[in-house]
Amino acid sequence: MIYKKNIYLTALTIGALWALTMSIVVSVVLSFVSGFPLKPNILIVISLGGIAGIVVLSSVKSTTILLLMITSSILLNSLTYGPITTGQDISYLLKYFSQALFAISTVFPLTKILSGLSIHDPGRHEIEAAFIRFSSGFGLIFFTMIVLIPFYVMVMTSLKTQQELLLNPLDFSIDLSKGLMLFRSYSELFQDFGFARYLWTSFYVSIVTVLVTLAFSIPGAYAVARLRFRGSSVFSRSILLIYMVPMIVLALPIYILFSLTGLRNTILGLVLIYPVTTIPVALYMLQGYFRGLPYEIEEAGLMDGLSRLAVIWKITLPLALPALASVSLYVFMIAWNEFLLAFMLLDDPLTFTLTRGVASLNSSEVPRQHLMAGAVISTVPILLIFLFLERFMTKGLTAGSVKG
């Protein structure tokens, strides 16, 4: 009997909490999309949610509950007590749409969350499972929102003009009638700020970094993984140690050295220094992978008269291609995103990398939408690569991302 009471309490609590979550999500999302401030009426939301939770328990069809919910929300709204409070100057469409969206996003997930709960078969496990399902739903929405909002704001701000941004910072709706004028910030960056050059510089600096890193780390990793020599364990340990030296500690003497030798403001200096930051991680990742390859194949190669180098070239490397792809992508990402060294060593716009170029936009003279457009330009290529090659990239991240 005590559990039966708990079941009702669970449904009530989860219903109220879920409705609260969804009301906030709907308000924030619609505010960001439309530019009109919407806010949840917390008392109403909690009571509606609690009632919905109880009703869901009593095996009423979910479409019926939804209809009830929508009508009650809209009715309450016309009495100015709607679950989502809107201003007066807002269109009717948005007014009703927000209430309906709240109702839908509350009822359907709620039926899912409470589906295992039944008054005929009450138990501790079912209650816990319901709470876990609630937390999962909540977590999924929470994480998605916190990850997406900064990127959403970044993209939308880059499509605005200065006046629009000052007028209503909340308004991220896109005026499609402007057509190509939407992308004015981008075209200005490419035409007047030399972003085409920065993009190209970043691209080839990253590629060269990948090639140099591989050229150094493949032999090194092979030696550590396969060959017996005194001091191999000391060597692999010092790789990890070097990996932990903070860049800012090195950046200072490197800055002095480059100032004295004239390597500052040169791409050569940059491609000299980037691989050194990536070789330890590449070595570490590759030697782990080489160790996992069966040695017998290589031995067969050796028996058939191949030299060591030929074995590496004809047997080990082809087998290690997936690992090479992961390492290359990871190194490319590090080089592409690198900011500190580029910032300290490059002053001349002719040698800027993309990140350095974006940093140069951070001044009071450059409008904010340009800065955000620059941020988008630097983000899009790496995210595209990531999306298309996620499998390799994720492997690279897990293997090498002890470094950050």
Binding site: T157, P219, F229, L250, S259
Partner: protein
């Protein structure tokens, strides 16, 4: 005769060893050139009274002029050299000048410090040139006929100079001034505390939030792959892009978050998220968690998916509730990877520079040790003090690594 196995390395073993070292040599060379050498340099510099201006060493500046009315051959004229030390403070030693005067001039007399020969090569020994000191050297000459001939004949050649400056980087002057300065300042304790706050909360936060994200993605649902990719965005995107969009988002005047909260009546006046104590420190820590939770979640998820499902089945048979299964099965299995993550992330967060530098520039109580290196070296232009802070960081780091290796050798599997 008793047979014994060969001791030491055979010829093949030696060959293999030599081959191994030859493969490692390029890497060792490059890494020591760009990591070990600078590390030694930073120790050296930290004992040096050196500022940013010292990176441009003083030189002799020289100007040459032909003076006097020259109308016809045989007129007297003067060739004047004005020399100056480019530095206002640092002296230059052993300053010399040499120049060849064109053949169209006949040298009559010259400054005492100089000599000349028949090829009209003059050579002057000036000696010490104090900071900012100026000198003038004059030679009296007669103009020859050829002066009025071709252009080549009267054009003065570029004089050359030599000098020995006292290079602050290489001289033996050592001082504890830098360390005294950074340890004496009241700010230093604040910097250490800020660093600790940022590091501890940033690391713990990222690992805990990562654990939650991993728990979420351990459930099967449609679009899981997409969500997993999405959650890695903060880590994959360039720090500069996400840092600026955070600043933009949380701007006190035109930021969307403040506007939203104001219009929802949650706030009565805007919050200055990045420009006020203690908000700024909390915000940079939150940013750190936001940016690095993907890493922990990736690691933890990988570990979770390798846990044997039979254990959960056994627990189900025994009637364990979902929370019990998490607490008594999953969590103990994850403690290992989480502590490794914690140690690694601790070191990396401690080393982090870009994030805080971009978000606040170290203002409003967010100056950590790494930001302090930059502040001292470039904002205050005292490279020596910057290096001293870097040495402090390095010592901290050595201590952490000792811990790490002690732990790491026990916990295989990373």
């Amino acid at each position: 005769m008793q047979k014994v196995p060969p001791s030491g390395l055979g010829p093949l073993g030696k060959r293999e060893e030599r081959f191994a070292w030859s493969m490692l040599l390029p890497t060792i060379f490059l890494v020591s050139l760009i990591i070990i050498l600078p590390l030694c340099a930073i120790f050296w510099i930290s004992f040096k009274p050196i500022s940013l201006a010292d990176l441009r060493p003083p030189t002799v500046l020289i100007k040459e002029q032909l003076k006097g009315p020259i109308n016809s051959a045989g007129d007297a004229a003067k060739i004047r050299y004005r020399i100056r030390n480019s530095s206002q403070t640092k002296p230059l030693n052993d300053v010399t000048i040499s120049d060849t005067i064109p053949n169209s001039f006949d040298i009559q007399s010259i400054d005492d410090r100089c000599s000349f020969d028949e090829t009209n090569l003059i050579y002057c020994i000036i000696g010490v040139l104090e900071g900012g000191q100026r000198e003038v050297i004059e030679a009296e000459v007669l103009v020859k006929d050829s002066f009025f001939g071709s252009e080549k004949e009267y054009k003065l050649s570029e004089p050359s100079t030599s000098s020995v400056g006292d290079n602050i980087l290489t001289n033996s002057e050592l001082t504890f001034e830098n360390f005294r300065k950074i340890f004496d300042s009241e700010e230093f304790i604040t910097v250490i505390l800020t660093t600790l706050f940022y590091t501890v909360f940033g690391t713990v936060g990222a690992v805990v939030v990562g654990l939650f994200a991993a728990l979420l993605l351990n459930i099967n649902f449609r679009g899981k792959g997409l969500v997993r990719g999405l959650y890695l965005f903060p880590y994959v995107a360039p720090v500069i892009a996400v840092a600026f969009s955070w600043i933009n988002l949380f701007d006190p005047f035109s930021g969307s978050v403040n506007n939203l909260l104001l219009q929802m009546n949650v706030l009565t006046s805007p919050i200055n998220f990045f420009g006020q104590r203690p908000n700024a420190l909390i915000m940079v820590t939150v940013f750190e968690i936001w940016r690095y939770f993907p890493l922990s979640f990736l690691f933890i998820l990988a570990r979770m998916q390798s846990i044997d499902t039979e254990m959960y089945e056994a627990a189900d048979m025994d009637g364990a509730s979902p929370l019990q299964k998490f607490w008594y099965i999953s969590l103990p299995m994850l403690i290992g990877i989480m502590s490794i993550l914690f140690l690694l992330r601790f070191i990396w967060t401690f080393n982090k520079f870009d994030d805080i530098f971009l978000l606040t520039g170290g203002a409003s109580g967010t100056r950590t040790l790494t930001v302090n290196v930059y502040e001292q070296a470039f904002a205050v232009s005292n490279i020596g003090a910057g290096a001293a802070v870097a040495v402090v960081i390095f010592i901290f780091l050595l201590i952490f690594s000792l811990f790490f290796f002690k732990f790491f050798s026990k916990e295989e599997g990373l």
